[in-house]
């Protein structure tokens, strides 16, 4: 057995209703470790040869939920959900915090692979006794809060019945999809707790397509045996000292950026990226913390950061709305991007997004896109079932979230995500709606603009193998390998200061393996990126990206910033296209953006090289 692992991934075929076990050999584990890396490898091995024909929302696609050997050890335990993305047609390693990965691990599993499609709604329950498929008919249609409440009760009663002498059973951990995913909203999230989301990639829709409401786990075992138990406590202590040494670091979470990223940095989406600057002091963190936060430090298992804050609306029309924080991304996407500057309105909008299982970034990007079309008279209230999404109207924006989740009226088209909706609306309305769509390879972009040239590389998103995902972008010298580490170790990259200095020691203590940051950048991480680049270029079946056209920023990001301290700033496209040539070389890609034969063979990816031959000729 490989230390740090249970040595067991549950493989579930929902079409056949069968559960079996899968385990890769040690060489694969050493190369790809877990989470995003292992997911990419498994997807390539199982689907790589026929990638282009696999419908991400068809039974053939896989939905993977993977932990790693460091799950439960390194602060910020997360789960990585992946599969063929219905947005990019490539692979996104999409992670969220919560209790599910720990419960999975303590139940004796390292992950779950789901294939096929159940005839009726089901959920998967994993306990010490194994994995079982259970009926989810009554859960179908439930929002996040109802789903958690119902499953907590059901599972605790079941476990009590099965093990009456154990004493009180704690709640299980779970990831689930909301109404948006059930209705195949292409950018729907896989949710954990009430508000945590595996947001990028559209895996909520993949769950919906499989009639799979939730993966639920409750384990009672210890974490698997490790290589150097005698060194563990010292490493935990070092982590605690580093993490708790600066109390202010954990005080606001990322929520403090909601005002400053707009007002100072001019890199925040404002009204669907028409601007990136605002001076709305009303969304300063002091208003959320004094008005809405009922818990300043809110964590998941093993966290040393507690960047989450629990926010509640106590009065007024949105009374009773609950969400976490909102953190920076949601203050931006459910706030400034929709012109909502009232703290209660932002909390409300975030809570609606959570409850429906939309992705706070991606779904709210689509709502902002629709609101701009409404502003321009391209969409009218008849298209939107009577809703008038006027900037700043949180109630109307919340109704838009329902319109899309329920696929009513034009919501049916918006449910395809910003890129596909822009294509369809351009045709229906005879306009160029694509100029208002802010996405990269079908994935709506994170809330970090590039136009000032000061804060992010101009080509970061354009060359990312995860499209608009702000957590995975190549950095100069152009390489995205670094970004794969957190998702592959499946840990939070913000939980521990200087994580890159300590994580390799954790890996050694847990697995006994010697790996360095340098190895990761040059070999392991790079290998993961090249496979992801290969599959995003293979794409299909509905869209195939052309690097010449699609390794680029959306038109909106070439419009000069209209306001703020960086007014007039925008990248020069011709210069960027020149820079792209150099970047391709750094990334190991040929002049057309395809990973080169030499690069792939150097990394031992001969099979990937062979499949890519079809793109080179």
């Amino acid at each position: 057995m490989t230390l740090g692992y249970n040595g067991k991934i549950a493989e579930v075929d929902l079409t056949e209703g069968k559960v079996s076990e899968y385990w890769p050999d040690e060489k694969i584990l050493k190369d790809y470790v877990g989470g995003r890396g292992l997911g990419v490898k498994i997807l390539w091995d199982k689907l790589g040869g026929k990638w282009r024909s696999v419908d991400p929302l068809g039974p053939e696609n896989l939905l993977l939920a993977l932990t790693g050997p460091l799950t439960g050890y390194v602060s910020g335990t997360r789960i990585c959900v992946t599969g063929k993305s219905p947005l990019s047609n490539g692979i996104v390693g999409s992670t969220a915090s919560g209790e599910f990965p720990l419960e999975l691990k303590t139940a004796g599993y390292d992950g779950v692979i789901v294939t096929g499609r159940a005839e009726n709604p089901v959920y998967l329950l994993i306990t010490d006794d194994g994995a079982e498929i259970r009926d989810a008919s009554k859960l179908w249609g439930m929002d996040g809060k109802e789903t958690i409440k119902t499953l907590n009760r059901e599972i605790r009663e079941l476990l009590k019945e099965r093990n009456p002498s154990f004493g009180l059973w704690k709640e299980p951990g779970m990831i689930y999809t909301g109404p948006a995913g059930e209705n195949l909203v292409r950018n729907a999230a896989v949710m954990e707790k009430w508000s945590h989301a595996c947001g990028y990639g559209g895996y909520g829709a993949v769950m919906g397509s499989k009639n799979l409401k939730a993966l639920v786990a409750k384990g009672t075992g210890p974490l698997p045996e490790i290589a150097h138990p005698e060194l563990l406590q010292a490493l935990l202590d070092e982590t605690y000292d580093a993490a708790f040494g600066n109390p202010q670091r954990n005080f606001w979470g990322t929520g403090a950026m909601g005002y400053s990223t707009g007002a100072q940095s001019s890199a925040e989406p404002v009204r669907n990226w028409q601007e990136e600057w605002h001076d709305e002091r009303s969304i300063g963190v002091i208003n959320f913390e004094t008005r809405n936060w009922v818990k300043r430090y809110w964590s998941d298992y093993g966290c040393t950061r507690a960047c989450m804050k629990l926010a509640v609306v106590k009065t007024g029309p949105f009374k009773g709305a609950i969400t976490d924080n909102p953190d920076y991304e949601l203050q931006a996407y459910c706030g400034t991007n929709l012109g909502i500057y009232d703290p209660d309105g932002v909390v409300y909008m975030s809570s609606v997004i959570d409850d429906l299982g939309h992705s706070g970034i991606n779904g709210a990007n689509t709502i902002g896109f629709a609101a701009e079309l409404f502003q321009r008279g391209i969409l009218n209230k008849e298209d939107l079932d009577g809703i008038e999404p006027v900037w700043g109207d949180a109630k109307a924006m919340g109704e838009m979230a329902y319109l899309i989740a329920e696929r009513r009226a034009m919501g049916d088209i918006l449910a395809e995500g910003t890129y596909r909706a822009a294509k369809a609306i351009s045709e229906i309305k005879g306009v160029d709606a694509m100029q208002y769509a802010v996405h990269f390879k079908g994935i709506e972009v994170g809330a970090h603009g590039i136009r000032t040239g000061k804060h992010s590389p101009y080509l970061g998103y354009a060359l990312s193998v995860q499209g608009g995902d702000h957590t995975s972008r190549p950095r100069p010298p152009m390489s995205e390998a670094r970004s794969t580490m957190g998702d592959t170790m499946v840990v939070c990259t913000m939980g521990v200061p200087r994580l890159e200095n300590i994580i390799w020691r954790y890996l050694k203590v847990v697995t006994g393996w010697e790996l360095s940051q340098e190895d990761w950048i040059n070999v392991n991480g790079r290998r993961i990126v090249q496979i992801q680049r290969a599959v995003i270029l293979l794409g299909g079946p509905d869209v195939v990206w052309d690097p010449e056209i699609d390794d680029d920023n959306p038109p909106r990001w070439y419009e000069p910033l209209p306001s703020g301290p960086f007014k007039g700033s925008a990248p020069d496209r011709a210069t960027l296209m020149e820079e792209r040539k150099t970047a391709y070389a750094d990334l190991g890609w040929d002049s057309r953006g395809i990973p080169s034969s030499k690069e792939l063979r150097k990394l031992g990816l001969h099979d990937v090289d062979e499949v890519l031959e079809q793109l080179r000729t």
């Binding site: 009180l168 210890p222 298992y301 629990l310």
Partner: protein, 179 residues
């Protein structure tokens, strides 16, 4: 004359509303007692029945020790120095009588089976409180038992505590979420 008993006994003070849900207390407890990370073997377990309303659940050392008097195999006894309930693993028959006798159903079986686990206050230096104080949350901290407080009231079922916390945090919405 026998050795003088300490005048004050330790108690793990619990300030539920401050619990972040990080469960570092479970990690610390299981590292101390099991030598590895094993949340369900931890003597403190954080119940998260309603997100946000996290309840660290551990022995309150009731004044009348109903668990000890319920034990048919004399496996439980009180440590006179700390007041903690100590489980004699050899004698415990895992019958569950102490779980049912506890007003808060706090003891639970060790996942390996065969014996119950109950907080032993780490001999007077509770690790759960140490880590929570170190993290700056102060949801658990080490205090001393005082005659003006009735600690029996803390032997309470996590569902009841959760409901109160949910209402405290979420108001009317908390009623519905903790049904």
């Amino acid at each position: 004359m026998s050795r003088r008993r300490p005048v004050t006994k330790p108690w793990v003070v619990r300030d539920y509303i401050k619990c972040s849900g990080c469960r570092l207390c479970e990690i610390a407890c299981s590292m101390k007692h099991e030598g590895r990370i094993w949340p369900e073997a931890s003597r403190v377990r954080v119940f998260m029945l309603v997100p946000g309303a996290e309840v660290p659940h551990l022995c309150a050392q009731c004044s009348y020790y109903p668990c000890i008097s319920s034990c048919p195999s004399e496996a439980l006894y009180k440590n006179e120095d700390t007041g903690a309930v100590i489980v004699d693993d050899e004698k415990c028959i895992a019958c569950g009588a102490c779980i049912n006798a506890c007003p808060g159903q706090i003891p639970h079986m060790h996942p390996e089976g065969g014996r119950v686990v109950i907080c032993d206050l780490c001999g007077g230096e509770p690790e759960c409180a140490k880590i929570c104080e170190r993290a700056g949350y102060g949801a658990l901290f080490k205090g001393t038992r005082s005659s003006s407080v009735n600690y029996d009231l803390y032997a309470k079922n996590p569902e009841e505590i959760t409901k109160n916390l949910a209402i405290n945090l979420y108001g009317e919405r908390g009623e519905e979420l903790s049904e």
